[in-house]
Subunit: 344 residues, 3 copies
Amino acid sequence: MEFPLKKIARVAGGKVIGNDSIIISGINSLDEAGPGDICFFADRRYKESLTKTKASAVIVPEKNDLFKGPQVVVSDPSLAYARVASLLAPPVPRYPGISERALVHEKSRIGKNVSIYPMVYIGKEAVIGDEVTLFPGVFVGDRVKIGKRTLIYANVSILQDCVIGNDVIIHAGTVIGGDGFGFAREGSVPVKIPQIGIVQIDDEVEIGSNNCIDRAALGRTWIKRRVKTDNLVQVGHNVVIGENTVIVAQAGISGSVHVGSDVVIGGQVGIIDHLEIGDRAMIGSQSGVAKSVSPGEVVSGYPAMPHRLFLRTSGLIMRLPQLNDRLRHLERRLEELEKKLQKE
Amino acid sequence: MEFPLKKIARVAGGKVIGNDSIIISGINSLDEAGPGDICFFADRRYKESLTKTKASAVIVPEKNDLFKGPQVVVSDPSLAYARVASLLAPPVPRYPGISERALVHEKSRIGKNVSIYPMVYIGKEAVIGDEVTLFPGVFVGDRVKIGKRTLIYANVSILQDCVIGNDVIIHAGTVIGGDGFGFAREGSVPVKIPQIGIVQIDDEVEIGSNNCIDRAALGRTWIKRRVKTDNLVQVGHNVVIGENTVIVAQAGISGSVHVGSDVVIGGQVGIIDHLEIGDRAMIGSQSGVAKSVSPGEVVSGYPAMPHRLFLRTSGLIMRLPQLNDRLRHLERRLEELEKKLQKE
Amino acid sequence: MEFPLKKIARVAGGKVIGNDSIIISGINSLDEAGPGDICFFADRRYKESLTKTKASAVIVPEKNDLFKGPQVVVSDPSLAYARVASLLAPPVPRYPGISERALVHEKSRIGKNVSIYPMVYIGKEAVIGDEVTLFPGVFVGDRVKIGKRTLIYANVSILQDCVIGNDVIIHAGTVIGGDGFGFAREGSVPVKIPQIGIVQIDDEVEIGSNNCIDRAALGRTWIKRRVKTDNLVQVGHNVVIGENTVIVAQAGISGSVHVGSDVVIGGQVGIIDHLEIGDRAMIGSQSGVAKSVSPGEVVSGYPAMPHRLFLRTSGLIMRLPQLNDRLRHLERRLEELEKKLQKE
């Protein structure tokens, strides 16, 4: 696809300095760009690359004399980049129509203009919305509902009765609606508690690769609008995750945790069951969260503590050998003093 | 399915207070239950819900006047719930027979009354027991043996020669029998050590979604009876896990670790290779286990230590800034004393 | 397969003590070996097993009188074992040719002597090298290139445009080329940054089961020659991993990290984005790496610190209760001294 720079600038919400009718056909990094490409410059560490780039235009936070061609000046380069890249990115490859090598249950309901690759399975009474794309190896269980324009990559498993919204993206290998991990005990023998609930995923959610989002014991595990998860994330049964919340790779959220809106959960974080994580909270990477977190709170560490305290304690942990030496030194000096005073 | 309350009470091992012939057709949470449903009440925090529920009956640890309908009084509400939910849960959807769109090797042996969905692959000389269910995308390698009534969800891969018992459940996306991670070194070049052993999974085991259980270098990786693993668990080559042991999500067990029976391994725990974890040990979430753990021991932390010590050290870590201040204060006071004494 | 011991010795790079024409047909552990098997003995803890083994021959670092049969003496038993096991290991089962139940796009290019199992999908303009093996459920996206002799296990997803080298092994359930995790913000709403780059995997790499290796935002995520990853590893967008580097299970490497050659990254390690990990660095299990690591440096801990310091601080953390007691004791003694001096 090709666009004049003035169209790009409009999408980016910026204004052009220089010739706004040159044609842009791609987006690339400063180092690898060629003629027709637009680039993005925001980090001064890449000044050298800006000087040398062969790109036809750049998106910048302010006019930059190191680049001689036309520039699009924007207030938020990162957001402008997201917008422009969406315009120029190649589209996701779609299978034309429903493959004969897919297995679509006769009692399912399939929308218009869908793309169903070979080796997809769609179960009884499943409902697939218009313009949905299902890649090879996708398993859609009985009575699952999938909204419009949703995109599900290869080898994803969505188990019976789960509900997926509109404009959702689910990356490859993810499992939606596996049984929650619940066992009663009879003596030492674990006895399975059937997991009868579902997973509900709302509109515009994006779920990474090889995630596991368990169905509820009763009721639903609920991923609200615009939540984004990275890869290998674990979400236990009956968890609720609020709008716009972002969860980084390999984090694990135990059963019945309620996470608020606009929360950021770092990579490899663990949250124990039944806690509340307030709106706009931030949890640093690898933290072990053992108590509820208040709205707006920033925590880190194992166990998680206020982030400022974490920074101080982390520094002090590395100085524990010195602390110990100082303590020993004090003990010796004090002993001497005591002896001295006893003699007097 | 529908049952009179007296039948439910018998399954729950409890006794009915009130009308024991009302008909129960479902199980639900207090808040979402309607007529015909039975609920479970054990946690006093949900008193409000108990007062308002529209359920027809409740399972309780002792008679509770907040609920006006019939009650089933049991000694262990959690176990009673597991039993009753099993009775009332909808059955797992089964494909009737062997799909023509599955690929079953002519030299495999398939039991009676199996449910083999489309897009299943069963290799040469594999043996599938009676009443087994294999969901779409399941790969069963050559010479794999699967016992009776075992249930394997979508997109699970079971590699050649592995042995799965009776009444096993394996959730979606899991890999059984991938190569163990073993390399020799020739200078700095890693040289693969072929992994020639198998994985053996005994009866009544349940394995979560997207687990990886590696085949042994030689011999077997062995998951014993009634072990339960949560999602995204890693089990290295030649690991042995004893009966009834429970492993929470994202835990990782390195090669050749021997885990005893009735052990609980928390979420995101890491255990380094060749250790022994004794029977009935408990390992707290996110612990890093670098030494063997004795039978019955409870450990936590990174590195793992006795749980009581962990609680004390965790508290003290958060107070390190104060400890440091106290130390500095002592140093100053001591210095003053020393000066004073020198002058005298 | 069967070989005379002298051939085995040649492969092992060792010399035979005893009869070098006996026939070896398998490799096994000391305890489970029978006639025709060769075993490996290097760890003195298994002396008992060496005495009792029924193996026909053993590989040893030096002549050992506990074993009466012929011995192959080698300088590096671990490497010798890898070599001999490769010779004796049963080959990976291969489908003969291209299954009719696979879906191979007419505009793809398929090499000679490939093994393409049923239920494989190969997209438009994909290129598959000679002697490649693709197990059931493998998804190969449009324009993907796969080199010669590469082996891809069941249910692996390789997304469009990615490039895989020669002699690569990818274990089951892994996802190559899922979108990197990149979002701009418009107010509190996360806005997807399209991920336009690819993943490039060089020759002789081995990737474990259920890994996630994300495509670059722009350019490439690059896994260089002979890198080995264990299971459930996360590699973010634009990461570069140098030759021979080994990454243990459940480690996570955030976006744009550059890892050098010959690095060892332990299990469950987390590395935050944009760091440099120098050649030959070693990172202990579960470490949280928040700063770049110099070549040859050995770090551990959360946050990661020099390994020796980590060992000292870990010990001191466990002794924090005593440190606190000593501090309190000092405070009391000092107070007494001060009082005493005041009175004087």
